[in-house]
């Protein structure tokens, strides 16, 4: 899966690497139960100032419940939540220094765009002149100045999304919570808005926590991702870490596409590991050691774009990380193609390759016999 990450300002620190950094949001052993159902199960997280943090998971993974507990709409059954060092566990939503952008946007239908954005400021008893300036500034920022007098129902989906964003940002919260902020937008608009959101976040210096089920969205925008499943946090890390070094089968399969080869450890040295896999039809050589005894059953994850296809045998054909198969399906995407290859062992493998040449000149076609190979760093060993 081709995922574009917004390249972030390199001068920016990675506070989670700094042991002295004080987290801005601290979630401590938080559990939330609804009756017998455990929506969030013993979650601990530290989120730092100016982070763009994504909670990624499928439906029912507990990501939205966690976000709602940060906003104050749900109270944790156990555990505590600190924002900027203050215990917020029992503080009602209207007293939290936090604003939220709702998935359905939740714009007030009886108010104009302007009134919607001004709502929070009026609530703070800000002088009218100041409110006017702030609202105008905010509407300019989200490019909605021309629509100030319109009612929400007179706006398009993208415009409503921006009103919701403006309304959440206008109070200049230190922490902004976004619940599936791009979920209701079409693909093109979504991509455009992703970049806008990141730029806005960097410009305003606000900590963003975004809930999403869309891994591409999480990869593109966030500084770090917490992958959630069934109320747990399965893995936390930068988009690269989570994609390149998934800690579990679940993460490997949830984020992007992956080929899984079952096998058993036959050689384990500090600098490499060799795994014999009947499924792959070859030995899998990985250039890092794993703390697993010889003979352990493991899975090896290889991303589709890391597999090379060729008609001729790969030059370094030591029988490692190299196997053969037959092209069964080709999906032409324009910039790249997806090949479904059936190995001689019967296993089906997915390979993506950029279309370096024009499609008509492509040397590979259906039912061709092909060689598959990958580099020693491509595989990731996962315990079963």
């Amino acid at each position: 899966m081709a995922t574009a990450q917004v390249i972030r300002n390199p001068a920016r620190l990675e506070p989670w690497q700094d042991p002295k950094a004080v987290p801005y949001v601290r979630i401590e052993k938080v559990t939330k139960r609804f009756g017998d159902f455990v929506a969030v199960d013993d979650v601990s997280l530290s989120i730092y100032r100016n982070e763009f943090f994504a909670l990624l998971g499928g439906s029912g993974s507990g990501k939205t419940t966690l976000l709602r507990m940060l906003a104050g709409f749900e109270r944790p059954s156990e555990g505590r939540i600190f924002i900027d060092g203050v215990d917020m566990t029992e503080v009602p939503p209207y007293e939290r220094p936090v604003n939220m952008m709702f998935q359905s946007y939740a714009l007030f239908p009886h108010m104009s765009v302007e009134q919607n954005v001004a709502f929070g400021l009026k609530q703070d008893r800000m002088p009218a002149a100041q409110i006017r300036d702030r609202v105008a500034e905010m509407l300019a920022l989200v490019q909605l100045d021309r629509f100030a007098k319109r009612r929400p129902h007179q706006l398009s989906g993208g415009q409503r999304q921006r009103v919701a964003l403006a309304r959440a940002l206008v109070k200049r919260p230190k922490l902004l919570l976004l619940d599936e902020p791009l979920g209701a937008l079409d693909k093109r608009l979504r991509e455009k808005t992703q970049f806008e959101l990141v730029n806005l976040q960097e410009k305003l210096g606000i900590t963003f926590i975004v809930v999403t089920h869309d891994q591409e969205e999480a990869m593109t925008m966030s500084s770090r991702i917490a992958v959630m499943n069934q109320g747990y946090i399965v893995q936390t890390g930068t988009p690269t870490e989570v994609y390149e070094y998934p800690g579990s089968r679940f993460v490997a399969e949830f984020i992007g596409d992956v080929n899984m080869f079952e096998g058993r450890v036959v050689e384990d040295e500090p600098d490499h590991v060799l795994i014999r896999s009947d499924e792959a039809g070859c030995d899998l050589y990985i250039n890092h050691g794993v703390p697993m005894p010889i003979g352990t059953q493991v899975s090896v994850a290889v991303r589709p774009e890391k597999v090379l296809l060729s008609k001729d045998p790969p030059p370094d054909g030591g029988g490692r990380n190299a196997t053969r198969g037959i092209v069964r399906e080709i999906a032409y995407l324009g910039d790249a193609s997806i090949y479904i290859i059936q190995l001689h062992t019967g296993k089906t493998v997915r390979v993506t390759a950029p279309n370096v040449t024009r499609r008509v000149d492509m040397p590979l076609t259906w039912d061709d016999e092909v060689h598959l190979s990958w580099r020693p760093f491509a595989g990731v060993v996962l315990a079963q």
């Binding site: 009602p92 939503p93 939220m100 709702f102 007030f108 709502f119 929070g120 129902h153």
Partner: protein, 340 residues
């Protein structure tokens, strides 16, 4: 073929002769259909025409009859009013003349006699107070039902509608038993030592307020429930997120968004309450002055049909204004929903 996509009944009738139908009948039917089509009364037109016909026959015609009576003189006869239209024969000129006599004194009397003005004002006041009481009682009830579990909403609404299964008159009579001296209420309050046993609420304005509020409460709750149920609870979360305490969120979000329901419910209570006759007659005291009672007295005690008719017409004119407000609000609400 039918333009509107309705069953092309007319085409079939004018085309072939269905078996078992005498030829002259199908010919006649085809002629009627052709005629109706010519005047545009077919398909959709016919469906729309039906309620208009109903309103014409049972509302406009009686109204015109009453309107005519209001301009006539009261006479001791059968019927007890003069005819305002007379055909006169001028024997000298050998001419026929149609003479229309409009007696305006009935309307003048409404304006000059304090009784009517007081009765109108009193009715408006009683209706307004009752509407307010219905609103204050009905809003929390409608809100609670709208926020109840979805499986509970149906049964709760059923409980609101349930009283309609008993005759209105019987339910008002039941209040006599509750409110009278030595009645249920007096005995209960007497048992606690709050009042003595001769105390009664019956035959007072308070009793009428209780009666009207009780009878019309469902008409307030139904439209309120309809608007409150549609209100997305996420809007309240958004308000809380932006700094509203629960009561502020209610005032700034719930209340304005339920305004159409408030207007509809208030008018559904207010309009019939102004002309209410049965409740003040049964529960009210001799001083309870309401236009419905005045109307009844003019008709049946005084047998002054022209004045009674004028009272009815004036009442109608009084109510046209709120009805038009109601129409306007409803049209605007529907408009808003379509655009949403």
């Amino acid at each position: 073929m039918s333009r509107n996509g309705f069953l092309p009944l007319g085409d079939r009738m004018s085309g072939g002769n269905p078996p078992g139908v005498p030829a002259f009948l199908s010919t006649a039917a085809a002629a009627v259909v052709a005629l109706l089509r010519r005047v545009g009364l077919w398909g959709r037109g016919l469906v729309i025409a039906a309620p208009y016909l109903w309103l014409f026959l049972f509302f406009l015609v009686p109204f015109l009859i009453v309107f005519r009576i209001s301009f006539s003189d009261a006479v001791i006869a059968q019927p007890p009013y003069s005819d305002i239209v007379q055909l006169l024969e001028d024997t000298d000129l050998e001419q026929w003349k149609l003479q229309i006599t409009l007696n305006l004194s009935t309307y003048l009397r409404l304006l000059t006699d304090d009784l009517y003005i007081y009765a109108y004002l009193s009715s408006l006041k009683m209706a307004a107070v009752s509407t307010l009481l219905c609103l204050l009682l009905g809003y929390p009830m409608a809100y609670a039902i709208a926020r109840a579990k979805p499986s509970m909403r149906g049964p709760l609404m059923m409980l609101i509608i349930l009283p309609f299964w008993t005759s209105f008159l019987i339910r008002v009579y039941a209040w006599i038993g509750i409110l009278k001296a030595n009645g249920v209420l007096a005995n209960m309050l007497g048992a606690v030592g709050l009042v003595d046993s001769n105390w009664e609420l019956l035959y007072s304005d308070v009793a009428v307020y209780i009666g009207i509020t009780y009878s019309y409460l469902p008409f307030m709750i139904l439209p309120l429930y309809a608007t409150l149920e549609k209100l997305d609870p996420v809007l309240l979360e958004a308000a809380a997120d932006l700094g509203c305490k629960p009561w502020e969120a209610f005032l700034k979000v719930t209340l304005p968004l339920s305004l159409p329901g408030i207007v509809a419910g208030s008018l559904l209570v207010f309009i019939p309450a102004v002309g209410e006759f049965v409740i003040p007659e049964l529960l009210g005291g001799p001083d309870t002055l309401m236009i419905g009672r005045v109307l009844w007295n003019e008709f049946f005690s005084n047998r002054d049909w022209p004045v009674a008719s004028a009272v009815a017409i004036a009442l109608l004119l009084f109510l046209v204004v709120p009805i038009m407000v109601f129409q306007y609000v409803q049209a605007r609400q529907q408009d808003g929903e379509e655009r949403r």
